[in-house]
Symmetry: C2
Subunit: 82 residues, 2 copies
């Protein structure tokens, strides 16, 4: 069955404490070469049946209304896989 992937990231102008924690871990581990780490969410929605334009439109609406919080997050990608 096809899967639709929705990617949600914290808005770039907001601090991302989880990402900062990973950056700090990199520094402690001696890992260099990465100036920033940000952590968002990846949703995989398994679709019953075919991915039509109507299904994609519904996923876009769900991504904006249910899967993300528009105050602090951006939907950065909606992609059909398989």
């Amino acid at each position: 069955m096809p899967t639709i992937v929705v990617d949600v990231m914290p808005k770039s102008e907001l601090l991302d404490p989880q990402g900062k924690a990973v950056s700090g871990a990199f520094a402690r581990l001696g890992v260099e070469g990465f100036s920033d780490v940000r952590i968002g969410k990846r949703f995989e929605l398994t679709v019953d049946g075919e991915v039509t334009d109507a299904v994609l439109a519904e996923v876009k609406k769900l991504a904006d209304d249910v899967l993300s919080n528009a105050v602090i997050e951006d939907v950065v990608g909606i992609e059909v896989v398989q």
Copy 2:
């Protein structure tokens, strides 16, 4: 500056309580047509300088050792963007 995206998902054989919560919300909202929802993490690593094979190899190692927990999660994608 180039960004490397690392996608981490809960292993398919494990229950994903966050995903189940979203499935439940869909049901309550009357949203139909999705048989499963799973939620993972999307890491965006901003790279200082160029993405060489050595940088990619390091990211692969970091993805396995630091960014994911191999007991419960799989690294499902490593991709260079921009």
